[in-house]
């Protein structure tokens, strides 16, 4: 593994920030460093040649795509999706006619499709307004397409079975040219938007925000800032879902939330 020191990382983040407006200065160090090393190895570059290439917009877009981690699954943590279906969504519907959902950092869209399938099986797809955002436009384009490699579908199928859906995951995709092509009508009502959690403004109010395994790439300072945005974006008594091994207890405004389900890491906003 190539060794990249902190000063090198600073040079890279400063350049990307000033030249292209993306701020990685408050990303968690060890994973960010691994992403940089990965890019250096993939393109056979050293720090100086990487900095030179980063002057160009086209390469910066590619860089953005590779620096962000886009490994995700449909129905990751099936028990989480069961709790959403059995507890959280029914609870939202007690007080609201419509369910407003934000997938923050939606990556290639697996969780958005999972949500759409879950809602469809509850006959609630027409009662939901889903907004899915990511800072990377390339990955958003891929998400909109809803095409996944068949190899990944094995895992997705297993998750779906453990989620205990009403049918089979096969009901929702076709095998076309060795790709699993998801049923687009599932996400016909989804609004896909380019949005950067680091500098993006609040744009709506939601009943449920999903941001699972995204903030693990941020340092505590940035985590606090982003949590503030989620807090403002939630209706009072709205829900925030984070990854199973994430926690809000070290955050500034942790006391404005309560844990609704500790195992699945679902929080509820209780104070404005």
């Amino acid at each position: 593994m190539k060794d990249v020191d902190i000063a090198d990382l600073r040079r890279i983040t400063e350049l990307v920030k000033t030249k292209h407006g993306y701020d990685f200065t408050k990303y968690a160090m060890s994973s960010f460093k691994r992403r940089i090393v990965r890019i250096l190895e993939m393109h056979n570059l050293n720090i100086d040649s990487l900095l030179a290439k980063l002057q160009h917009r086209a390469f910066a877009e590619e860089f953005l795509n590779e620096i962000t981690v886009n490994v995700t699954e449909m129905f990751r943590d099936p028990s989480f999706w069961r709790v959403l279906r059995d507890d959280i969504i029914p609870a939202i519907l007690l007080n609201h006619q419509k369910i407003r959902i934000w997938h923050a950092g939606c990556s290639s869209g697996e969780e958005v499709f999972s949500m759409a399938i879950l809602l469809k099986e509850m006959n609630l797809l027409n009662y939901a307004q889903i907004i899915a955002t990511d800072l990377d436009t390339n990955i958003l384009d891929r998400a909109k397409k809803g095409e996944y490699t068949l190899k990944n579908m094995e895992l997705n199928e297993k998750n779906y079975i453990r989620f205990q859906g009403t049918g089979s995951l096969k009901d929702y995709y076709k095998d076309i040219n060795n790709k699993a092509v998801l049923d687009k009508t599932l996400v016909a009502g989804v609004s896909w938007r380019n949005h950067d959690l680091v500098k993006g403004a609040i744009f709506n109010k939601f009943d449920l925000v999903l941001c699972r395994n995204v903030m693990i790439y941020f340092n505590q300072t940035l985590l606090n800032e982003v949590l503030k945005k989620f807090h403002e974006s939630l209706f009072k008594y709205g829900y925030l879902a984070i990854g199973s091994k994430e926690s809000l207890i070290w955050c500034d405004i942790a006391n404005k939330f309560i844990v609704v389900n500790n195992e699945e890491k679902i929080y509820k906003k209780i104070k404005d």
Binding site: S30, V69, R162, M215, K245, S247
Partner: protein
């Protein structure tokens, strides 16, 4: 009595293991002292989609409590940590854990190379790395990072391993300070415990 030439400036012990390492780990955790002076950071290959049960199974005979840390959780002395299912686990310069869902490495998440590599960066020559039985080469590079930073490297004696691919990978990549049976690893850790009590 074995002489391991230890000192009392170590800051952490990191353990990697895969197929065939479970019994060894259980034995180590059942025989160390309850006031072991360093954090023990473990990355063991495990089923990706089974979140619960592994800590419980390891805990049955363990003297010390084992936890799967949350992202950004501080590392404390005398605690035993296990990398959670389906996450890579790193240690950060501020002595806390960070988790990630990056691509699998050596077909593994958690990957031992990632945990060992990040520990070597943070603890440098004040780290003891132990690699146990396993069926792939994950951890080999991690042991090299530890040695390159001046840490102490230990592998389970291939003779004793159910599957020796993992320790042998490390032995091929770097200098291993001690090749030990589980019983001797326990002795080493207990010797360390004595040093810190003085």
């Amino acid at each position: 009595m074995l002489k391991f030439n230890l000192h009392d400036r170590y800051k952490a012990v990191v353990i990697g293991g895969s197929a065939g390492s479970f019994q060894g780990i259980v034995k180590i955790l059942s025989k160390i002292h309850s006031d072991f002076p360093l954090p023990i950071i473990m990355c063991l290959h495990r089923l990706k989609h089974v979140r619960n049960g592994f800590v419980e199974a390891l805990s049955i005979k363990s003297i010390v409590e084992i936890t799967e840390p949350y992202d950004k959780q501080n590392i404390k002395k005398g605690q035993v940590y296990l990398a959670p299912a389906n996450y890579h686990m790193s240690v950060e310069l501020g002595h806390y854990f960070s988790l990630s869902t990056e691509e699998m490495i050596n077909n593994s998440r958690p990957a031992i190379d990632i945990t060992l590599g990040s520990c070597s960066y943070v603890y440098r020559d004040k780290l003891i790395g132990i690699l146990l039985s396993g069926a792939n080469k994950d951890g080999g590079l991690g042991m090299k990072y530890i040695k390159d930073k001046g840490g102490l490297t230990i592998v389970q004696d291939p003779e004793e391993c159910m599957i020796d691919t993992m320790p042998k990978a490390a032995m091929n990549l770097t200098t291993i300070d001690h090749v030990l049976k589980i019983e001797q690893i326990v002795q080493l850790l207990n010797e360390l415990h004595k040093l810190y009590r003085k």
